[in-house]
């Protein structure tokens, strides 16, 4: 096998409690690299597109990449993919931490689950030993309790765990999968897929290192990249303040959604929700993931006040916005408490904050009343009702039952004008960056294969002034221009598709990693040279196979849209502008080689060997 890979995929049929090991196909590696690329190829080939995502016939793929578990900085991530129960289309989510490397150390590049266990079950991978074990005693337990209990009963404190919480068990479509006690694969409701399979957790322990093709070159390169990253002011910034360190700057340019995307300026709120404020109040220490010098993760401890006693992983930027500004809450303590509740229940914080903001607005406009909320007064900025809402979403009680299935389904159930307050694309709640502030985000959200996502392209980084000279992105473009953005979004989507396949944490890309480092790393790790063109062509292939997955489900131009609300500019604070999505889409389809309906043309598929 090529360097970097273990060459083995574990297949687990939960219906028959049968496991088998199969070789990782070399064709997959050459064309799709790993991570999200290989997961997409597997699901495209194997899955009946019309399968019910919560039925035993759906498949759930956990994949690592060739760099996972090597000492290349920031390569501790893994990817999970499936047909999403939240969106009904391609679903993927990733998490950093330590679980991905551990899976490699146990000898596997990935795991494919299908079927449904008769009873709650967990998988225990201990190097060569594979066991499906009874998880009845863990069912109903929160993710932190589950992790602690598993480590102690397996007598392997060094094992790494991914697990679902009660929300995933009860099939909430916004349920996430929690890794290493707080790393979260949040998006697309994949926790519910695990729940539907009666799969509570996967515990892994491995001791076999990942071999690379050219160890000397690899080690020299790791030293070179690590030293650049260590000296980058961006590294220091992320380490000191985490991703929420950007909260105030984001607010200043109108990027942070406030009060369910109806306001774009709240400097005092942003300051109180910032990583800088967190550092002065509840931060215990920065923590890091496998082999990452950045340490952007937060460990917090609240020592006094109403939330005293809350401790563990702290909120990131997305959560500070979805549980803060989106709900007009400016108290970092309640955000941290809510973050902890969501980690324990296993709920995605972006979707959860969006669902609660949606409910607040429905309540404010009289679409739901105290009768629907069982007496909970939903008022913007109120802590008590906010925490109660998380509880009922996690327990699937009362109105929490419909909110736990995401804003799209909830708006359909509530009816009337509720869809106007449901801020999503293709069923996935929008992340906390406003496309009216960065025009490329509008196109990125509309065309992202998993529904609204800022990280599938991260093109707003370019509009903020981060350059990628080797991709030809040397200048900061006007963030309000719609013209000419399609090419940049395509380049960034294809680039990020490879990043999610190798797999490298995207945050590292602004702390010193360059494309030329990546190409040299690929050669030293896998053992073959890749040109910039081949690198980008691989990304294009990966992006397109996911589009094909979605096209088979009927996705076309009619679905590449934005919520109506985002079509209206806000004019308080930094002036917003309306994104001209139609113009950008025309240009985008043409450059992608797709037809007018957004389907890759046959000649494009031939060119991409798809």
């Amino acid at each position: 096998m090529l360097g970097g890979y273990k060459g083995r995929i574990l297949r687990v049929n939960l219906t028959d409690l049968r496991v088998s090991v199969e070789p990782l196909k070399e064709e997959y590696v050459k064309k799709f690299l790993g991570g999200t690329g290989i997961a997409a190829k597997i699901l495209y080939d194997e899955l009946d597109p019309h399968v019910d995502p919560l039925s035993p016939w759906n498949k759930l793929v956990f994949m690592t990449g060739p760099l996972t578990g090597t000492l290349a900085p920031g390569c501790g991530r893994f990817v999970i993919a499936s047909k999403s129960p939240l969106t009904g289309i391609w679903g993927e989510s990733g998490s950093a931490g330590y679980w991905g490397p551990e899976l490699k150390f146990a000898g596997y590049d990935g795991i494919i689950f299908d079927g449904k266990a008769e009873n709650p079950t967990y998988l225990w991978l201990n190097n060569e030993n594979v066991e499906l074990k009874d998880a009845k005693h863990l069912w109903g337990k929160d993710t932190i309790e589950t992790e602690n209990k598993l480590k102690s009963e397996l007598k392997e404190p060094r094992s790494r765990i991914v697990t679902i919480g009660p929300a995933g068990e009860r099939l909430a479509k916004i349920a996430c999968i929690v890794a290493d006690g707080g790393g979260v694969a949040g998006r697309c409701g994949l926790g519910a897929v695990m729940g539907s399979k009666n799969l509570k957790a996967i515990a892994v322990r491995g001791t076999e290192r990942v071999e690379v093709a050219d160890e000397t070159t690899f080690n020299d390169l790791v030293k070179e990249i690590s030293s650049i990253m260590e000296n980058s002011p961006r590294t220091k910034s992320l380490r000191s303040y985490g991703s929420a360190g950007s909260m105030e700057g984001n607010e200043a340019v109108g990027d942070v959604p406030i009060k369910n995307w109806t306001i774009n300026s709240w400097p005092d709120g942003a300051k109180k929700l910032s990583g800088q404020h967190m550092a002065k109040t509840i931060l215990k220490r920065p923590v890091t993931c496998f082999a990452c010098p950045i340490a952007c993760k937060r460990e917090i401890e609240i020592k006094s006040g109403p939330y005293a006693g809350v401790k563990g992983k702290g909120p990131e930027y997305e959560t500070c916005a979805s549980f803060g500004t989106l709900l007009l809450i400016d108290d970092i303590g309640v955000v941290a408490k809510a973050n902890d509740l969501c980690t324990r229940y296993g709920i995605d914080t972006i979707s959860c904050g969006s669902a609660i903001a949606f409910a607040y607005e429905c309540y404010e406009k009289g679409l739901i009343t105290n009768e629907d909320t069982e007496g909970i007064n939903l008022s913007w900025g109120d802590h008590e009702s906010f925490l109660k809402m998380i509880d009922i979403i996690g327990k699937r009680e009362g109105i929490g039952l419909i909110l736990g299935d995401g804003v799209k389904l909830a708006s359909e159930k509530i009816g009337k004008d509720a869809n106007k307050f449901a801020i999503h694309v293709k069923g996935l709640e929008m992340p906390m960056h406003d496309p009216r502030a960065y025009k490329s985000l509008a196109l990125g959200y509309a065309t992202s294969n998993r529904g609204a996502c800022h990280l599938q392209a991260a093109s707003h980084w370019v509009e903020r002034g981060t350059t990628f000279p080797e991709l030809g992105l040397k200048e900061k473009p006007d963030r309000f221009a719609s013209e000419g953005k399609a090419k940049m979004v395509i380049d960034m989507q294809d680039f990020m598709a490879v990043i999610d396949s190798l797999i490298i944490c995207k945050f590292t890309l602004t702390c010193g990693y360059t494309l030329s480092h990546l190409l040299r790393l690929v050669e030293a790790t896998i053992g073959y040279k890749m040109t910039v063109d081949e690198f980008m062509r691989t990304g294009e292939r990966i992006f397109n196979i996911k589009r094909l997955f979605n096209n088979r489900l009927g996705i076309s131009r009619k679905d590449d849209t934005l919520p109506e609300r985002i079509d209206k500019p806000l004019s308080v604070g930094t002036k917003h502008r309306r994104p001209d999505l139609g113009l950008m889409l025309d240009e985008y389809y043409q450059l992608r080689g797709w037809d007018e309906e957004g389907k890759p043309k046959p000649e494009k598929l031939t060119e991409l060997e798809l």
């Binding site: 000296n231 980058s232 002011p233 961006r234 220091k236 910034s237 992320l238 000191s240 303040y241 985490g242 991703s243 929420a244 360190g245 950007s246 909260m247 105030e248 700057g249 984001n250 200043a252 340019v253 300051k271 910032s274 990583g275 800088q276 550092a279 952007c296 990131e316 930027y317 997305e318 916005a321 906390m432 960056h433 991260a458 980084w461 903020r464 002034g465 981060t466 350059t467 200048e475 900061k476 006007d478 963030r479 309000f480 995207k506 945050f507 890309l509 602004t510 702390c511 604070g573 930094t574 002036k575």
Partner: protein
């Protein structure tokens, strides 16, 4: 001479421990001159404002004059008496 109010957000504020600074500048000064001649006097801001590779002013800092963000070049953007210039650095993430 014109008087400019500087507002520093996030990291920049923490770096020097101050959110607001008042500065005097020659008439018709550009944002580039404001940064080079005034802000870089604060040693602690250098890391945040200067790109370690190009040794020039970073392209990825957020700069607003009053409530309008600067999208064109920092050489051509000029300030006038009484303007508030807001600066923030943002990092990838989230």
């Amino acid at each position: 001479m014109i008087r400019i109010h500087i507002r520093l957000l996030g990291d920049l504020r923490e770096a020097i421990g101050k959110e607001k600074i008042e500065i005097n500048l020659p008439n018709n000064s550009s944002i580039k001159e404001l940064i080079e001649n005034k802000l870089l006097r604060y040693e602690e801001l250098k890391d945040h404002l200067i790109d370690p590779t190009t040794k020039r002013i970073r392209t990825d800092i957020i700069i607003l004059i009053n409530e309008r963000s600067i999208e064109s070049s920092i050489e051509s953007e000029r300030v006038k008496d009484g303007d508030t210039v807001t600066l923030a650095s943002v990092v990838a993430g989230g």
